[in-house]
């Protein structure tokens, strides 16, 4: 009996482990350089140069920032709940990292005769899993704000939580319209359909717009960055945090931004599909591995475009007032997403008749 338990595919385990380590480290590095890019983009849009002293064009700046955060004194307020205070940033980071598990990063690669999929887990509830984990990110904010025992932190945390919950709704509704088109929650299937056909954004422009706006709100990015509205709430839910715990909160935010960019490109912009190229034919002509590499690169380029868009919006649009935010969420986005859903359903039924 024990023998059969032990007889599972060890190669499979090793393959997935390598993939997990690779993807986690890639998303960490990307999050690091997002901070650099953010400062650069902000500077360029304000006719400045941005960080340019640490290394060539300031490329070592994230390392210096990280070193600074690690060297700082770690302060835990006396009146805080120590366990929850530490748990907060851990949860934020965990939730941010976990979403990357179901994303297909490229086609299969051929590793000494073994077909290795560039996706950690191809589960059949893929997009639901993403939603489940993303809503766990609220716990990080909420627990951190609560454990700080500071009224501003708590208020910011409440804002963050209610904002995330309100915008999850239209996000889900806009996604239902997409899922009616694809007929599957599996991300690999969704990408596979776009590989052969047209990108989903062509069928679902309104759905994409709603998804995009909700992604901004979910990531707590401007114009929806009310949880850290400096002028009202000092620093927001991470006000009492210092050193690397603060760093984890900020880092989690950048990872979230990266992941939501990846998800948007996967769902609406063809995932790892190389535009204007037949991927299957390409794989036959230049080999599977090279194609998979090119596909992963394409996905990263698309993601980079979205990340730039996130930053572009941040340095253009001012923050919403809180009632405006709620108005937009409940009175505009939800009806719009519902209408989008109904129209999509009607069109599908009409075409299939």
């Amino acid at each position: 009996m024990y023998f059969t338990l032990l007889a599972f595919d060890w190669l499979f385990m090793i393959e997935k482990l390598v993939l997990i380590v690779g993807i986690v480290s890639i998303s960490l590095v990307i999050a690091m350089y997002e901070t650099w890019l953010e400062r650069k983009v902000a500077a360029w849009m304000q006719d400045r140069r941005g960080p340019s002293r640490a290394g060539p064009i300031g490329l070592l700046q994230p390392l210096a920032d990280g070193l600074k955060l690690f060297m700082k004194e770690e302060i835990i307020p006396n009146t805080s709940n120590r366990l929850l205070f530490i748990l907060g940033p851990c949860l934020a980071m965990l939730a941010a990292m976990m979403t990357s598990a179901v994303i297909p990063w490229g086609g299969n690669i051929d590793f000494f005769g073994r077909a290795v999929s560039l996706q950690i887990a191809d589960i059949n509830i893929g997009i639901l899993y993403v939603f489940a984990v993303v809503s766990m990110g609220v716990f990080g904010i909420m627990i951190g704000g609560w454990a700080s025992n500071n009224k501003f932190s708590l208020m910011a945390a409440l804002r963050g939580a209610s904002q995330a919950i309100s915008y999850e709704l239209p996000m889900g509704l806009s996604l239902i319209a997409l899922l009616m088109l694809t007929g599957s929650l599996k991300l690999s299937v969704i990408v596979g359909q776009q590989l052969d056909g047209v990108w989903n954004v062509v069928y679902q422009p309104l759905g994409f717009l709603i998804f995009l706006i909700c992604a901004f709100a979910e990531c707590n990015r401007t114009p929806f960055d009310l949880p850290e509205a400096e002028n009202e709430l000092n620093f927001g839910y991470h006000q009492e945090y210092s050193s690397m715990k603060l760093g984890f909160y900020l880092f989690a935010e950048y990872i979230n931004m990266f992941i939501s960019s990846v998800i948007m490109s996967t769902l609406y912009f063809g995932g790892y599909d190389i535009p204007f190229v037949n991927d299957a034919a390409l794989a036959e002509s230049i080999g599977v591995n090279l194609t998979a590499g090119l596909q992963a690169l394409t996905l990263f380029i698309k993601t980079g475009g979205f990340i730039f868009f996130f930053m572009w919006v941040r340095w253009t649009i001012p923050r919403f007032r809180y009632d405006q935010l709620m108005n937009l969420g409940w009175k505009k986005m939800v009806p719009l997403a519902l209408a989008n859903m109904i129209i999509t359903a009607a069109v599908i039924l009409w075409l299939k008749k």
Binding site: W44, M45, Q46, D47, R48, S52, W312, W315, T316, I317
Partner: protein, 185 residues
């Protein structure tokens, strides 16, 4: 009410149209503005490597001048102190002794000469008042200091380097003034 100028614009309180309320078009317009700024010339001056050029009439830190043989020009007449509106200058006069002819140009000199940089307003009236061309305002500014007493500049801080012993530093301290003097002559 009659408008005083034709520049006044009446406030438009029309309710927003549907397109305006959609807000998306205005966002797109704003985004295009920030996008254009990506390619604009940066206003930054990379300070230690590049410096912003001073205007020719810039009035910076004071320098006590020497003549061509390196003798101090100041005779401690006190005209600069009288001219100074901020009362930043104090001095003590002394008589030149035998054998000090290579140090001081005239029979009387300033034994102590102090400018309080915290009081000074860099107006340049001392330079205008000086009959001996002994004090002028250079093209640097007074660096910050942790203590007040460090900002009371005495003779060692103010005197220009010796033109014969230290010609390079002398020229540097002279700065643009050398060109200006040539033009005047």
């Amino acid at each position: 009410m009659q408008a005083l100028t034709n520049r006044a614009k009446p406030v438009d309180r029309k309710p927003m149209t549907f397109v305006e309320r959609l807000y998306l078009w205005n966002i797109a317009k704003g985004m295009m503005i920030t996008f254009k700024h990506l390619f604009k010339k940066k206003a930054t001056i990379n300070y230690p490597e590049q410096t912003r050029p001073f205007s020719p009439v810039f009035r910076g830190l004071h320098v006590l001048n020497r003549d061509e043989q390196g003798r101090e020009r100041c005779t401690a007449c006190g005209l600069c102190a009288v001219a100074c509106p901020a009362e930043a200058i104090t001095m003590e006069a002394a008589e030149r002794k035998q054998g000090e002819e290579n140090l001081f140009r005239e029979e009387k000199y300033a034994a102590k000469y102090e400018i309080n940089m915290l009081r000074c307003i860099f107006c340049g009236l001392c330079e205008e008042a000086c009959p001996k061309d002994a004090i002028y305002l250079s093209e640097t500014f007074a660096p910050a200091n942790y203590q007040r007493k460090g900002l009371i500049y005495g003779k060692p801080d103010l005197l220009i380097p010796h033109p014969i012993d230290n010609p390079e530093e002398y020229q540097q301290a002279l700065g643009n003034r050398a060109n200006k003097q040539q033009q005047e002559n």
